[in-house]
């Protein structure tokens, strides 16, 4: 039954996400549009874009994740589904892990897969692209997991979206620093190992702890 819970919730989330196919590509489009805003708002110089490209893509990924998080539990709260999960005998942390996994697979994973193409338009050299990709693959699951805690904490609040951003963005910043730092290091020919390990460590921590934190947050806020 335990494995089932994970699958049950992941499948439900996928069902909801695939219901309108446009919802599926939306985080991706959003990511691209944000990343596009920069070249438009900066002085037109090629070399500038190449230098800041990695950072811009990381910031876009963080913001795209953030925008998707807002709606993660909101409708479940309003239609009473959340209550039902809380009083069900299923393991809530496992259920939430399933939900977050499905959510990530349609946001973070997609972003990471698409980022290399975006990098090319910024004329980022291939070795840096590779590092960026690796960083996103390791970093975005942590973003989703940590972000879900914030989403759970703010679900009952009116205008929770903005509060969510404020409590979650500071937590995202270490991931952002390591991820973007990797690209910068690679650009100056330094070693990226330490940042890589840090990202991996954060991921392991997030994977083991945040499901419980999400469940606890939901239990606290719903009553």
């Amino acid at each position: 039954m335990a494995q089932n819970t994970f699958y049950l919730f992941a499948r439900r989330e996928w069902q909801l996400l695939f219901r309108n196919t446009s919802a599926l590509v939306q985080p991706l489009c959003f990511f691209i549009i944000i990343a596009l805003m920069f070249p438009l708002s900066l002085p037109a110089e090629n070399e500038l874009l190449t230098r800041i490209g990695g950072g811009v893509i990381w910031v876009s990924a963080v913001l795209a994740t953030l925008l998707g998080l807002e709606s993660m539990f909101r409708s479940d709260y309003h239609d009473g589904a959340l209550e039902q999960w809380l009083i069900s005998p299923r393991s809530l942390p496992l259920a939430m892990l399933g939900k977050v996994f499905a959510h990530w697979s349609c946001t973070g994973l997609l972003l990471a897969l698409f980022a290399p193409l975006l990098c090319m338009t910024f004329r980022i050299p291939p070795d840096q692209i590779w590092v960026l990709f690796l960083g996103l693959m390791l970093g975005t699951p942590s973003l989703s997991l940590i972000g879900a805690i914030g989403a759970a904490l703010t679900v009952t609040l009116h205008r929770g979206g903005v509060l969510l951003a404020i409590i979650i963005l500071p937590l995202f910043i270490p991931i952002l620093i390591f991820g973007a730092g990797m690209v910068t290091q690679q650009a100056i020919g330094g070693s990226t190992a330490s940042q890589l390990y840090a990202l991996a460590a954060i991921l392991v921590l997030a994977l083991t702890l945040s499901p419980f934190a999400i469940a606890a947050a939901l239990r606290t806020t719903i009553n």
Partner: protein, 222 residues
């Protein structure tokens, strides 16, 4: 309150007190329910019926008083949770999923490995024609019926129903009464609220009534 003390009650509420904000809704509420009983909680608007039901469902925690299931506290007690169903005003239906998908999810959640009964359940509740409509298209009564379809094949012993007859037409009301009576006959328990008396209904034989007024009057004494 007539209680036989020799058989241990299935669900026992002991000296429960609930407050919201500054207001104490009720105090020293004790009651126990045994298999085959239906408890009808009555009280004026805002008297605390919903709060009581949510406490029993484990959604509201009050530090004063105890709620026990077969002698164990109900808080984070999986064996209790797997034998209890709570249906309140919000039905927990996802607007974007169809009726069938919604029901299948709850059927899975309740531990059924096989979902073939879902279509039959919808038919029994009279909403088979809406099987493939997404839930946001259902009428108010159809939503309520869909929520109740979950009871048809549930293995839960204790049903907690908050105003189950709201928005449901006469045929539906008879249907739900029948389902409840069958559940009670199978030694199930029901805790419900309703603003109309149920003494004329088919539930009457196994009905007990708990008036929240009685536990508010004690507020003035203290």
């Amino acid at each position: 309150m007539s209680q036989t003390n020799d058989t241990p009650a299935m669900l026992a509420i002991n000296n429960l007190e609930c407050s919201r904000g500054d207001r104490t809704l009720f105090r020293q509420l004790s009651y126990s329910i045994n298999a085959g009983q239906c408890l009808h909680i009555v009280g004026a608007n805002g008297s605390g019926k919903t709060t009581l039901l949510r406490s029993v469902a484990g959604l509201v925690y009050s530090p004063k008083g105890k709620i026990q299931w077969q002698g164990e506290n109900i808080q984070s007690n999986p064996s209790y949770q797997s034998t209890m169903i709570y249906l309140g005003h919000s039905e927990g239906l996802k607007n974007e999923l169809t009726s069938v998908e919604n029901l299948e999810f709850y059927s899975c959640l309740d531990g059924h490995s096989d979902q073939s009964h879902v279509d039959g359940d919808l038919a029994q509740m009279g909403i088979l024609e809406c099987a493939d409509l997404t839930a946001n298209k259902l009428s108010f009564g159809q939503r309520r019926r869909l929520a109740f379809a979950r009871l048809l094949h549930s293995k839960a012993k204790l049903w907690i129903l908050d105003e189950p007859f709201t928005g449901i037409d006469d045929a539906g009301r008879a249907l739900i009464e029948t389902i409840c009576v069958e559940h009670l006959d199978a030694q199930g328990m029901i805790l419900l609220t309703n603003h109309r008396t149920l003494s004329q209904s088919r539930l009457a034989p196994s009905l007990a009534v708990l008036d929240l007024m009685d536990f508010q009057s004690s507020l003035d004494h203290s």
